[in-house]
């Protein structure tokens, strides 16, 4: 495994290592947060609801963030919380909420050979993970950050100087990748304004409406005045004739008998409210 040998080369000489002791507080925190992180991961896998899944993942991420803090990396811990939990998971939640709570996963294979590829890659990733974690557990001595945190500007200063000297190329490459992704997303979502305007401005809409010369205002409402509260009642023009534009297509198409109650009400031939109807039939 070339990756493992590469990782091994990255380890510093044993002489330089300063082994910090694990304090009681750290141990207690680990035994609380470790199972919690694991529970979060399992919960994410087995939760039925997509939003619940995302929330379980948030639990895992928060636990990891606190573990970083306990292990003398406060900057990393808080950035983990701000960036992953605060921004990325929030965007996930945003999308999930837009999708709706009842939508379920599609089991149809969209890409040919998707499952096979996913299984292979998954197994490969698992092997890699087990290999590196196993090596970290057995072959590598713990190296505390106490020394780094106390020299040369402390935790934050050291991360900054590493990032902008030794790892500058990787850092810039990552930012280039992110900018490309952002640009791609913007192009995909962009609706051009030079060709056909996708959305007219309010002013353009007003001018268009006036240009037509037909009707500027809204259509007359139904004749819902003092006599009736039915939308089937037509509006009357000043000379007493029915305003055709106030008639609603759907109502015009309905059977007349279904509207007979409304007609009766307008005509004044409907039943008067009977006070005795409230009493039981026996009395």
């Amino acid at each position: 495994m070339s990756l493992l040998t590469f990782l091994a080369q990255q380890q510093p000489e044993p002489v330089q290592r300063v082994v910090d002791t694990v304090t009681t507080g750290e141990a207690v925190t680990f035994w609380i947060l470790g199972p919690l992180a694991l529970a979060g991961a399992l919960g994410m896998l087995f939760a039925r609801n997509a939003v619940h899944s995302a929330l379980w993942l948030v639990v895992t991420m928060l636990s990891l963030g606190v573990l970083y803090m306990v292990q003398q990396a406060p900057f990393l811990g808080f950035v983990q919380i701000i960036v992953y939990t605060g921004a990325i998971m929030m965007l996930f939640l945003f999308v999930l909420m837009m999708v709706g709570r009842d939508s379920s996963d599609s089991v149809v294979e969209v890409i040919r050979g998707q499952r096979l590829a996913a299984a292979l890659l998954g197994i490969g990733f698992a092997v890699m993970l087990v290999g590196s974690v196993g090596r970290a557990l057995t072959g590598v001595d713990a190296r505390g950050l106490a020394e780094v945190n106390t020299t040369n500007g402390g935790n934050v200063g050291n991360i900054g100087s590493k990032l902008f000297t030794e790892y500058l190329f990787a850092f810039e490459l990552t930012s280039a990748l992110l900018i490309t992704a952002a640009l791609g997303a913007m192009i995909l979502a962009f609706v051009g304004r030079d060709g056909k305007p996708a959305k007219k401005t309010q002013k353009e809409l007003v001018e268009e409406r006036f240009q037509d010369g037909k009707r500027v205002g809204s259509l007359p409402g139904p004749g819902v005045f003092a006599t009736a509260n039915s939308v089937a009642t037509p509006a009357l023009l000043p000379d007493g004739t029915v305003a055709e534009e106030s008639l609603f297509d759907v109502i015009e198409a309905t059977d007349r008998s279904t509207l007979s109650d409304d007609v009766a009400e307008v005509a004044g031939t409907a039943h008067e409210p009977d006070a005795h109807a409230l009493k039981g039939s026996e009395s």
Partner: protein
């Protein structure tokens, strides 16, 4: 303990706090909790009274002396109300959401320095719970978790208005947190530390011999951006879109009642206090008096200055609510992304250049050359910008439809002179609509 090893790199405040006994930490935790709850009760009353004065009415003046216990009474009443959970609500998330929004609000206050070195029950300590090397990030992290409360409450309620409020809130807080984070960067660059204790310590200077060296003056653009984004971050008027009453009923907390609603209320006000306290810490010299020297500037006096400055920011919150109408959502987003964030970035560049110049001890000639290059670049960019399109003033004649429609550019004539005839002297007209009795 490894804590003492850090001493070489940590600030004065952190050293003071490092040997706090456990009981003292507990006392501070309880004190901070009590302070925030009392501030919430006070703020609700103060807000109602100030807004009332702005609207020419007395405001709450019945419960307690001058009505100052009104919010306490309201809070007690709220606790005894029926707790309603909608049928469509997601049981667990609906319960968790107010808790999630409340806890980070309190947590964020732990890094705020309330005063410098004081003697508390015989122990020399600073009035601050912890002073982490990344203190400022704690507040940002807490606010980013606090959003979950709002978003989840909106989603879990299972009804459309809360969901809309939640979506608005998610987008709003993420955008304004970026502006907030960028406005803090300049302060961190000047201090060289993220610890809140160090940031306050770095402002204990004077500029021009008399003025306090607060970052609010030295880094005014950052200060302005922070103040705008802190209003956006706490969902307060004129940026209270997630709970816009006229559009979304109550927004994310429409379906909440009883104690759960009270928790949201508490979280909102605690958040306001926290961002105001952070603004004080970062930009107005924290617990320092407005003058240098020892006079009224040591020990417990710090608490007084801190509270006065924080109350100043809180008053601005109330003032904004009493005066400004709510912004439209797209305008609000445009302000965040197209004004605050780019301005912040340009300003950070400028601060970086100034800082480098100060550290490198450049000669006058070098400074002038640098200035010339910058001006040249600005000119180049401004020449490359396309001209603004001239509006077509002629347009189309609009009143062509036969309707008596006034033109769009109609100049409204001045108000007519007041009617000479008094209404009282006019002959009495008979009412057009009469009551049923008169008709009979």
């Amino acid at each position: 303990m490894t804590q003492h090893v850090y001493a070489a790199e940590i600030g004065e405040t952190a050293k003071l706090l490092a040997d706090d006994p456990f009981w003292l930490i507990l006392v501070k935790v309880v004190a901070i909790f009590a302070f925030l709850v009392v501030m919430t009760l006070f703020m609700i009353n103060w807000e109602r009274k100030v807004v009332a004065r702005m609207q020419q009415r007395p405001g709450p003046n019945r419960v307690g002396p001058n009505g100052w216990l009104q919010s306490l009474a309201d809070g007690l009443k709220l606790a005894f109300k029926e707790d309603i959970r909608p049928v469509l609500a997601d049981k667990w998330v609906f319960f968790l959401a107010p808790v999630i929004s409340c806890i980070p609000a309190f947590l964020a206050f732990s890094v705020i320095p309330l005063a410098g070195e004081v003697n508390l029950f015989g122990e020399q300590t600073a009035l601050q719970l912890v002073d982490l090397p990344v203190g400022v990030l704690v507040v940002l992290a807490c606010s980013s978790i606090g959003v979950y409360g709002i978003v989840l409450s909106g989603w879990a309620s299972g009804s459309p208005y809360p969901l809309l409020g939640a979506l608005r809130s998610a987008a709003q807080v993420i955008s304004y947190e970026i502006a907030m984070g960028l406005s803090i960067v300049a302060v961190i660059m000047f201090t060289g530390s993220m610890s809140t204790g160090d940031i306050v310590g770095a402002q204990a200077t004077t500029v021009l011999g008399f003025a306090p060296g607060w970052f609010g003056f030295l880094l005014f653009p950052s200060f302005a951006i922070y103040v705008v984004s802190m209003v956006g971050e706490t969902n307060r008027a004129p940026f209270d879109l997630p709970e816009a009453e006229s559009e979304l009923v109550g927004g994310f907390h429409t379906e909440y009642s009883s104690l759960k609603f009270a928790l949201f209320f508490l979280a909102e006000y605690v958040n306001m206090v926290t961002v105001s306290a952070l603004a004080t810490t970062l930009f107005l010299g924290g617990y320092h008096a407005p003058w240098s020297g020892e006079f009224m500037n040591t020990g417990w006096w710090g608490l007084l200055w801190f509270i006065i400055k924080t109350l100043g920011f809180l008053f601005i919150f109330i003032w904004l609510r009493g005066t400004l109408p709510r912004m439209r959502y797209d305008q609000f987003m445009r302000l965040g992304w197209k004004v605050l964030v780019p301005t912040s970035l340009v300003w950070i560049m400028a601060v970086a250049v100034i800082r480098t110049g100060a550290i490198q001890q450049l000669s006058t000639a070098q400074r002038l050359i640098a200035l010339g290059v910058i001006v040249g670049l600005v000119l180049l960019v401004s020449f490359l910008l396309p001209d603004k399109k001239v509006q077509d003033t002629k347009g189309v004649p609009l009143a062509g439809s036969g309707f008596p429609v006034p033109p769009l550019d109609l100049v409204v004539p001045k108000t007519a002179p007041k009617r000479k005839v008094k209404v009282a002297t006019l002959p009495k007209e008979t009412a057009a609509v009469t009551t049923g009795k008169e008709a009979e």
